[in-house]
């Protein structure tokens, strides 16, 4: 499950470029994730008609390239669109890609999916165990995070920010808005593609069902909850949105809750006291042993949803907003000093 947290950090960082930096509301992000995953699947799964048995490390750059091409494919027609319209069209785009994967079953094997995708192999060393995978995906996230923060604090990041704030003025300042919007789509897509290749290699089996609108929404929620444009925010957002629901499912969590019998007795005592003083009667809490089971049911989505609502009400700019977003006056919060060049 920590592998997924790290994987969604990668995806979040990618979408953050599009939504957080450039302000383009993209709800079709799953398309790029799928593009990367199917590049890996089609070229390595024994079930694929074009299985080439290629090495993961060769496919990685290919998946990134193909996903950015898909990004440009989405970017071009939506260039003139802003805000809500952009969200609607990109949602449709994500769905089209999914339907394409289902319907071109001669190539993708449709909803049967592609299985037995091999794991990465580097000079005979195989990434196999969960721990290895975790470190691998974290390493990918660190590299991606490094690149995106570098981009943000550069003329490119500022051009995106200018477009986000006022497209016409950005153009008047010499920003080629067409080029930079496409660049945002393509960069975000490239990172989504990277995530897709890693996902396919990790899971070993992909089918169109894994690339639903829900993935786009999850990634977008990570970016928004964490704080748009913020790298630590994406990490926090992924921990909470991807980590917490899974923690709630854990056996350990149920066991922990089962030990809260004392809390139940105490609360029931309190309820009893209230009951005695008021007319009518209130139900008692169920035994603590059943709490875990209940949590594992739909209750956890309710808890989860409530958590999201609370976060957004209390911290509308996200849990960890980017410093640029925070309106602050502190002078000791200086940006990095003059950057150091590589020797």
């Amino acid at each position: 499950m920590l592998v997924f947290v790290a994987l969604f950090v990668v995806l979040g960082l990618g979408l953050n470029v599009v939504v957080g930096f450039a302000g383009l509301l993209d709800l079709g992000y799953v398309a790029f994730f799928a593009a990367g995953a199917y590049t890996m699947g089609l070229l390595t799964s024994p079930g694929s008609p074009i299985d080439a048995g290629l090495n993961f490390w060769l496919i990685l750059p290919m998946g990134i390239l193909i996903a950015s091409a898909v990004g440009l494919l989405l970017g071009l027609p939506v260039l003139p669109l802003r805000g809500d319209y952009l969200a609607i069209v990109t949602t449709g785009f994500g769905e089209i890609i999914r339907l394409f994967l289902i319907n071109r079953d001669d190539l993708t094997r449709g909803s049967q999916g592609l299985s037995a995708i091999p794991r990465p192999d580097l000079f005979g060393y195989r990434i196999d165990s969960f721990t290895e995978w975790f470190y691998f995906v974290v390493a990918a996230a660190v590299i991606v995070g490094f690149c995106t923060s570098r981009l943000r604090d550069s003329r490119i990041g500022r051009a995106w920010e200018a477009i986000r704030e006022d497209e016409d003025v950005a153009a008047a300042m010499g920003v080629n808005t067409t080029k930079y919007k496409l660049l945002a789509f393509a960069s975000g897509a490239a990172i989504g593609g990277l995530g897709g290749v890693i996902y396919a290699a990790f899971i070993g089996f992909i089918s169109p069902a894994a690339f639903s609108l829900q993935v786009s929404i999850d990634v977008l929620a990570i970016v928004i909850i964490g704080g748009m444009g913020s790298t630590p925010g994406v990490i926090l957002g992924s921990l909470i949105l991807i980590g917490v629901p899974r923690i709630l499912q854990f056996r350990e969590t149920s066991d922990f809750l089962a030990n809260l019998g004392w809390l139940r007795d105490g609360l029931n005592g309190l309820i009893g006291a209230v009951d005695a003083l008021t007319p009518g009667s209130i139900g008692r809490l169920p035994p603590a042993e059943t709490w875990g089971a209940q949590l594992a049911d739909d209750t956890r989505f309710i808890i989860f949803g409530a958590l999201l609502v609370i976060v957004m009400v209390v911290r509308p700019s996200g849990l960890w907003p980017s410093s640029r977003r925070r309106l602050e006056f502190a002078h000791d919060d200086a940006p990095a000093p003059a950057p150091v060049t590589a020797p």
Partner: protein, 264 residues
Amino acid sequence: MAATVSANGSQALLSVRDVSLRFGGLVALDGVSFDVPAGKILGLIGPNGAGKTTMFNAITRLYRPQAGEIWFGQTNLLGLAPHEIPRLGIARTFQNLALFPSMTVRDNIRVGLHASTKADVFSQALRLPWVGREERRAEQVVDEAIDYLGLRAVERHPAAGLPFGTLKRIELARALVARPKLLLLDEPAGGLNHEEVSALGALIRDIRERFDVTILLVEHHMGLVMSISDRVVVLDFGKKIAEGTPDEVRRNPEVIRAYLGVEA
């Protein structure tokens, strides 16, 4: 054909030729022609709604004139997209301020350098050495502009919420970091008090010397325009009604009528 020599024989940096621009039925510019001589300050005046800002927007390609040509050296600006204008060496400020509100003052000024820097995604992500050098140079230019315009105290403050006069100076800094050949100033004295206006006059002159820049100045404050402009062009209802030295323009009966007509 490029018109590069103005009426009085001096080299023109910008040549506006028979430019007409309509908004629906409203004629905002009606066959306007004038030259901006290199190295000079040209005042562009006229009553409210005369078409001064529209002329700026035509030059910077935010609006597309229906007729005419605008030459900057050998380049016809009307064939270009708005984002291609700054790269030629044309920078401007806006009458109604066009800063990026949630970006810091420093970042706003940095955006002014967009057209004169060139780091791309890959070199930037890989932090190639030349990118580092370009950035250091850029930061130095930004620092100079911040000191020159006295913005040090607010450089990390978001632009939103700062006083109007400060915002005008930020716009000026953003325009200057681009090291333009031609600087378009749209009512830089708007909202300033008496002392600030005379300081601004000195500042504009200093900018011309220090940055070796040609200036096209739109301004309602007559004292300012007449004292610093080398030549003045007068627009009224989209038409050029007069052009000459400040003294000639001040005595021109057409000009007096246009201004009195508005006040009456």
